[in-house]
């Protein structure tokens, strides 16, 4: 396998990228955090989510924009985000690397059973 060219992804970064991928157009800090808690059982602090989103954006993996203002009095816009192609590639690389490493080990089997 060719060496990974992109910088390595941290665990939290992987979680956030995957969550954002799943959420599609609904991805923003609060929904991402909720999904990670629900699916992965990891309770990340709010600060961590924002720091990770900022970092991913600086790395060029996600892009963000302000959505429509909320329909409440004084409502502001949410900062929505979406994966860029580089982000998608990075998650894919990371996932593939993990899968290959885990192949045939106890980890792979337990993971298989759980899912």
């Amino acid at each position: 396998m060719a060496p990974v060219q992109t910088p390595l992804l941290g665990e939290v970064e992987q979680l956030v990228l995957l969550a954002a991928l799943r959420l599609g157009d609904e991805a923003y800090a609060v929904s991402i955090r909720a999904l990670i808690l629900e699916e992965a059982g990891v309770d990340l602090s709010r600060g961590t989510i924002y720091v990770t989103l900022e970092r991913l954006e600086r790395k060029g993996y996600v892009t963000s924009w302000f959505g429509d203002p909320q329909a409440v009095r004084g409502g502001k816009a949410r900062r929505m985000c979406r994966l860029k192609p580089a982000g998608l590639a990075a998650v894919r690389t990371a996932k593939r690397g993990l899968d290959r490493l885990a192949a045939g080990t106890v980890v792979a089997k337990t993971v298989g059973k759980r899912s």
């Binding site: 923003y28 609060v30 602090s45 709010r46 302000f66 909320q70 409502g75 502001k76 949410r78 900062r79």
Partner: protein, 850 residues
């Protein structure tokens, strides 16, 4: 208000996230039904996290920037760090000594439930509270009643700790410094050995069990388990090491005077069958019982004179108020140092206004300017604190030599973890406190104005706020210096004042031969007194010797007080032989002292001290006293002389004193010892072996004599006053120096900023002298106001100080005037030095350069 606060808090969040995060938190708060406090807390957390994650680079840059600009202003940095080091150094030094005594929990199980129960008995002069020495005991009956009936305590024992020192065969060549403790006391304090076992009550009568400290176990016995079990020492008093005390063990006593190596088992007072005064009680409160409740119960059972204190307060009861005084004084020094640092940083900020203006004009956020300015303060403080720590650490052993023995075993070194933590907190706090105002000022520099000012403004920048600070500093400095000098005078007075006798070459000799039973005025008792006197006078190099039943010098508690009790005052009476006053070097004010005939014939004659005559015959001329009669124990006695007052100990004020011939029954004490005052030829040392031999020869049995220099006997009494005198002297000087540094900084700033103006003035015909005096006036004006305010504060605060002082009036106007003069002179010199530079301004150069 809450909305405003939230908006303010949102500034913490970087701008690109601010609106989005506010919206997200609003959403979540609505969904989860959270309030504004939750939003505020989340905002703080998220904002700090984002800031820290992405501004680390800038943080390091600012730190580097601050360090670089400080190295460029080397002299400022050194001066500021040094003055701060003085302030914090004094605090570190003092806290190494008193932290454990005052604030740190004692190293016992649940120390907040341990109490000491005692009564206070005052020895000394009631008219002069500071000359009195409280003794802490408890009456046996009260202790027994408490033991039987008090419900507040889980357990209760009689304190059994006293110091012993002994070289034990088999346990090294050095003497072991020990304290005694009972098995019950060890159990009550919850002390668990880390190796071996604790004391067992069953062994108490057969051998001395020892628990050694971890430190001694490791240092002297290499941490070996082989020392346990075997017997050491002599066969009739064997020792057995049974266990090792936990590291950092401290004995529950203020009497140890030095670090201890071991605890020796002793039997506890069993509170049955004896009377009198016993050592205080140590008790453990039941869980949930408050001190107030225990006090109420103890007062109900044993009377209101029995006090209950937490153990720590109880152990150091006698010294605690002095230590509080020390704490307040060093805290004031720290405050002065912080104010001083603020002035220095203000001056520096102002002189760098141009640079900040350029930075701000180039778009640096105000926050960055504040931060780099705070970093400067932190670096100055950090350097100062590090230097102070190092000096305190290196000077540790020298300092220990001068601190009173009472607190010495409790001292820690400057690198103690807790002390380091305290120093760090104090340093950071000082940096923020002293750096905040200057930093704020620096961030508010108007870039436009500074840039314009560089080109042609003639307005002179002024150091706003500095005048107020110099005033504050001068006021604090004055309060501190007046307080310190008054206290110093009091303690130095104790050390230096005339004791009423000549201590040099004077020896206090305990004679091994007392007087036998029977009337003293007849043989054989009389002949014994006579023989001792005769033998002592024949010793080589002895100028004079006089025998007594107790000596009025050297020991604090000698003599009787029967006569003065009948008069209704506290006083002493001593039975002395012929020539006693001459031997002591105590001047006779009127009449004569006892002759050998008075002693042999047991004449009913008396010599009274000056203070005694003023009690008996107020206002009488001492010369008229000899020949008057006085009633002693129902009989008529004739006063033959008036002697100068003697201080029995250096810390006590002289008490009314009555001297009687030692052969009269009224002079007899319950102890049968005889004492000698011996005055040697200058520089000659007593030959104890010869003295013992000659006395033994004269009496044909073993008894001998042991001599102690009177000057040495008063050393323990002088230890504390000497320490306080040194400490408060240092504090006064530090306060003076810090105040001077503040004035110097302001004057130096003034000169550096007004070079242009001075150039113009000189061109217009002003003399150098005019300029120097103008600078001095400007810098000293706030000082005058500060001194006035300080005088008022010192006068008001003096009332709290008075109770600590001995024979010094805190409101002594001369002291205050003296301190004002010294402070002003120091400040004038501090202002004058930089002002001199104003006189040396070269007008053509300054004008050309702009």
């Amino acid at each position: 208000v809450i909305d405003g606060l939230l908006r303010w808090l949102q500034q913490l969040v970087p701008a690109n996230w601010r609106a989005a995060i506010a919206q997200d938190l609003d959403d979540e708060a609505r969904v989860q039904a959270r309030g504004a406090i939750w939003i505020a807390w989340q905002t703080i957390q998220i904002g700090t996290k984002l800031r820290l994650a992405f501004s680390a680079g800038a943080l390091w840059f600012d730190l580097w920037y601050a360090a670089r600009s400080l190295t460029r202003a080397r002299w400022f940095a050194i001066g500021a760090a040094l003055t701060f080091a003085l302030g914090i150094g004094v605090n570190i030094a003092v806290f190494t000594v008193i932290d454990r005594v005052m604030f740190r929990p004692l190293p016992y199980a649940e120390p907040d439930r341990l109490v000491q129960i005692h009564s206070t008995y005052v020895v000394g002069s009631p008219s002069d509270p500071s000359g009195a020495v409280p003794q802490i005991h408890i009456a046996f009956e009260k202790a027994a009643a408490l033991n039987a009936r008090a419900q507040s305590f889980e357990s209760l024992v009689v304190a059994s700790t006293y110091p012993v020192k002994e070289t034990i065969r088999g346990l090294g060549d050095l003497p072991l410094r020990m304290v005694t403790m009972s098995p019950e006391e060890i159990a009550l304090l919850g002390i668990r050995p880390i190796a071996g076992r604790s004391f067992t009550s069953s062994q108490l009568r057969r051998e001395y069990e020892l628990l050694i400290t971890t430190e001694t176990w490791r240092a002297r016995f290499g941490g070996s388990h082989e020392i346990f079990g075997a017997r050491y020492g002599e066969a009739d008093a064997p020792y057995r090491v049974v266990g090792v005390l936990p590291p950092g063990f401290l004995p529950p006593t203020s009497a140890a005077r030095e670090r201890i190596d071991a605890v020796r088992a002793t039997a506890a007072d069993d509170l049955s069958g004896r009377g009198g005064l016993i050592q205080p009680l140590i008790a453990r409160l039941r869980p949930g019982t408050t001190l107030a409740r225990a006090r109420a119960e103890v007062a109900a059972i044993a009377g209101s004179d029995v006090q209950v204190h937490f153990l720590q307060a109880g152990l150091f009861l006698v010294f605690r108020s002095y230590l509080w005084l020390v704490v307040v004084a060093v805290a004031l020094v720290w405050l002065v140092a912080a104010v001083n640092l603020t002035i220095l940083l203000l001056a520096r900020g102002q002189s760098r206004a141009n640079e900040e203006g350029v930075r701000l004009a180039l778009g640096a956020p105000a926050g960055r300017v504040v931060r780099s300015s705070l970093f400067e303060a932190a670096l100055v403080c950090g350097t100062g604190a590090a230097a102070a720590l190092l000096v305190c650490y290196l000077a540790g052993s020298a300092m220990l030599a001068i601190v009173p023995g009472v607190v010495r075993p409790f001292a820690v070194d400057a690198f103690d973890v807790r002390l380091l933590g305290l120093t760090l907190v104090a340093t950071l706090f000082s940096a923020v406190a002293a750096g905040a105002l200057p930093a704020w000022r620096r961030a508010r520099v108007d870039p436009l104005e500074t840039l314009r000012g560089r080109i042609g403004s003639t307005s002179t920048p002024r150091l706003r706020g500095a005048a107020t600070l110099v005033m504050l500093q001068a006021a604090l400095g004055l309060v501190l210096t007046v307080g310190a000098m008054t206290t110093l005078r009091s303690f130095a007075g104790i050390v230096w004042r005339d004791p009423g006798f000549l201590a040099a070459d004077l020896y206090h000799v305990t004679v091994g031969y007392g007087y036998p039973d029977g009337p003293l005025g007849q043989p054989p008792a009389l002949s014994r007194v006579d023989t001792v006197q005769r033998v002592a006078s024949s010793w080589p190099n002895v100028q004079s010797a006089s025998v007594a039943t107790s000596l009025p010098v050297g020991l604090g508690f000698g003599g009787l007080d029967h006569f003065w009790k009948t008069v209704g005052v506290q006083g002493r009476q001593f039975g002395v032989g012929a020539g006693m006053l001459r031997t002591l070097g105590t001047p006779l004010i009127a009449g004569r002292e006892f002759t050998p005939e008075d002693i042999v014939r047991c004449e009913r004659v008396a010599v009274i001290s000056e203070r005694g005559t003023s009690v008996l015959w107020p206002g009488a001329d001492p010369q008229s006293i000899p020949g008057r009669d006085v009633t002693i124990a129902g009989g008529r006695w004739t006063v033959v002389g008036v002697a100068a007052d003697i201080r029995q100990t250096p810390v006590w004020s002289p008490q009314p004193t009555l001297y009687l011939p030692l052969t009269t029954p009224e002079a007899r004490r319950s102890s049968s010892n005889l004492y000698l005052a011996v005055r040697m030829a200058p520089g000659a040392a007593p030959d104890e072996a010869l003295w013992t031999a000659t006395l033994d020869h004269a009496f044909g049995s073993r008894g001998g004599a042991s001599a102690e220099a009177v000057a040495d006997m008063s050393l323990p009494w002088l230890q504390q006053p000497r320490f306080y005198a040194a400490l408060f002297g240092t504090l006064g000087i530090v306060a003076l120096l810090l105040t001077a540094a503040g004035v110097y900084a302001v004057a130096a700033f003034d000169v550096s900023q007004r070079r242009r103006e001075m150039g113009i003035r000189l061109t217009l015909g002003a003399t150098a002298r005019n300029l120097v005096s103008a600078v001095c006036q400007r810098s000293l004006r706030p000082l005058v106001a500060g001194v006035a305010a300080g005088l008022v504060a010192a006068w008001w605060g003096g009332q709290f100080l008075q109770s600590f002082l001995v024979e010094v009036d805190v409101h002594d106007p001369w002291m205050q005037v003296g301190v004002v003069i010294v402070l002003t002179l120091t400040a004038v010199v501090a202002a004058w030095l930089p002002a001199l530079r104003a006189g040396r301004v070269n007008p053509s150069e300054t004008l050309r350069s702009s």
